[in-house]
């Protein structure tokens, strides 16, 4: 069982259980707002008390206590500051293969009675439950996936990439914004933050992760990491 201690930053934790990449927990006054971001994994937001609010696709979404929200891998979302005095939230990151195709919310109240105490097995059960209700979508070989892979995997300059696709730089930026929700450069930074997070999770020292993920120095990574994921790389790495 997982006991959640009071927090003022997001506390990340690896589970050692196949099927859950990691967990992040919050207990205390409403979480701070974070910069818009996405994850390489599907994020399951389990709200046990209080509420969470996100900006997704230009709309505000509230996840009240007793609900689980599913944020598909790669979907841009911005956690907003909430005023609820006491919020208990557990985020589970599961492999993208578990992914529902769209953002969705379901109720979880009856699955456990004791607030603040939930086992990884119960989280997996909830994830499987949602995945089994979904029509299996084999792959997302959409323009969107191609575009995001192209942006994340090459270091080609944005202007050059636009020219290769026969677009002006402005036209390319507009297209990326429409498809992925952020401008090309911001998208790349988010993809690199995800890479740095994966490297840290695997045990790379911060300086190495920063360099590998293409950040100019460790403090640059630290600053962006904290604003985006709600904790510092150092704390994330130690936990």
């Amino acid at each position: 069982m997982t006991r959640l201690a009071p927090t003022t930053t997001w506390k990340y934790r690896r589970t050692g259980i196949a099927g859950i990449v990691e967990l992040a927990s919050w207990r205390g006054a409403g979480p701070l707002g974070l910069k818009p971001h996405f994850h390489d994994e599907t994020q399951i937001v389990l709200v046990l008390a209080g509420s969470r609010t996100f900006r997704i696709d230009g709309a505000t979404v509230t996840v009240p206590a007793g609900h689980a929200a599913f944020i598909p891998a790669g979907m841009l979302h911005a956690p907003m500051a909430t005023s609820d005095a006491d919020t208990v939230c557990l985020n589970a990151y599961v492999p993208a293969s578990h992914s529902p195709s769209t953002f969705r919310i379901s109720r979880i109240t009856r699955r456990w009675q004791t607030t603040g105490s939930i086992s990884p097995e119960q989280i997996l059960e909830i994830a499987d439950d949602i995945a089994s209700r979904e029509h299996v979508h084999v792959s997302t070989t959409s323009d969107k996936a191609k575009l995001s892979d192209g942006l994340a995997e090459s270091a080609e300059r944005i202007g050059k990439m636009a020219a290769r696709l026969g677009r002006s730089r402005e036209g390319f930026t507009r297209m990326v914004k429409r498809q992925l929700g952020v401008a090309p450069h911001a998208f790349r930074v988010l993809a690199r933050l995800n890479l740095a997070r994966r490297l840290l999770r695997q045990g790379s020292p911060i300086a190495v992760a920063a360099a590998e993920a293409g950040f100019s120095d460790q403090s640059h990574l630290t600053r962006l990491f904290r604003r985006t994921f709600g904790t510092t790389p150092g704390v994330y790495w130690r936990d």
Partner: protein, 253 residues
């Protein structure tokens, strides 16, 4: 809840209060507003029910002089309404989120149709009234079904109750309206109580809409001579049709 969302809910509440005072059918505006505020569908439905419940109560109190004497038949109807509202609310809370969002566009479409056809339904029921009134058991069963729907979703409950009571009760339309308001209040109170006890109500959003609904309801009482009910009814029907299309696009395609 941010300022923008609060303003949206307050405005929707004022509109809902006005509409309920003049024509009925506020849920077709206020429930989509709760969804637009970002609440999950079941929570939005429960919070909406709580936010607009004072409207029914005020209508019932205003008309209390026209209420039928507490005959055994009336008492049975009140008990049926309380039970129906409770059952409808429990069914709603038992249902997985997905099984509620799927029929939402159909529910909105159904309620909109009810409003659009209310005059026809009314004249049909008057024509088909039998010389002898149906038995209390039969009337109670039909009312019970309507009240389960009322606790579950609620939009258009007034139209259904008026139609059912026009067939089962004697001819005085004022008495029927008063009884309808009393039964709708019972349904709404029972459902509201369940929603609150189960913690399904989101209070910040509900509070904003509740304040708006009270302002709108109060203003509606004064505007009744200026704003033609027919115009408000047409507005509700157009809005309901638009909401049907919007939510069908969102939940079905």
């Amino acid at each position: 809840m941010d300022v923008q969302t609060g303003a949206l809910l307050l405005t929707a509440g004022v509109a809902g209060g006005l509409i309920n005072a003049l024509a009925g059918g506020a849920t077709l505006i206020t429930f989509p507003a709760m969804l637009a505020a970002g609440l999950p569908a079941v929570t939005a439905n429960a919070s909406n029910a709580v936010a607009i419940s004072p409207g029914h109560l005020i209508a019932a109190l205003a008309d209390r002089g026209k209420l039928p004497p507490p005959s055994p038949r009336a008492i049975v109807f009140v008990l049926v309404a309380l039970l129906g509202g409770t059952v409808g609310a429990i069914v709603l809370l038992r249902l997985p989120e997905r099984l509620f969002t799927l029929p939402v566009p159909a529910l909105i479409a159904f309620a909109t149709l009810l409003f659009a056809c209310a005059p026809q339904i009314q004249s049909w029921t008057v024509k088909h009234r039998k010389a002898a009134l149906p038995s209390t058991g039969y009337s109670g069963a039909v009312l019970g079904l309507a009240c389960v729907y009322g606790g579950f979703f609620g939009a258009g409950l007034g139209v259904i109750l008026t139609a059912v009571l026009s067939i089962t009760e004697s001819n005085d339309i004022r008495a029927i309206k008063a009884l309808k308001n009393l039964l709708a209040t019972c349904v709404s109170c029972a459902a509201t109580l369940i929603f609150i006890m189960q913690g399904t109500v989101r209070w910040p959003e509900t509070g904003a809409m509740l304040v708006g609904a009270i302002i709108g309801g109060y203003a509606g009482g004064h505007l009744i001579r200026i704003l033609p009910g027919q115009l408000v009814r047409q507005f509700v029907i157009v809005a309901g049709a638009a909401m049907t299309v919007i939510y069908a696009a969102r939940y079905w395609f």
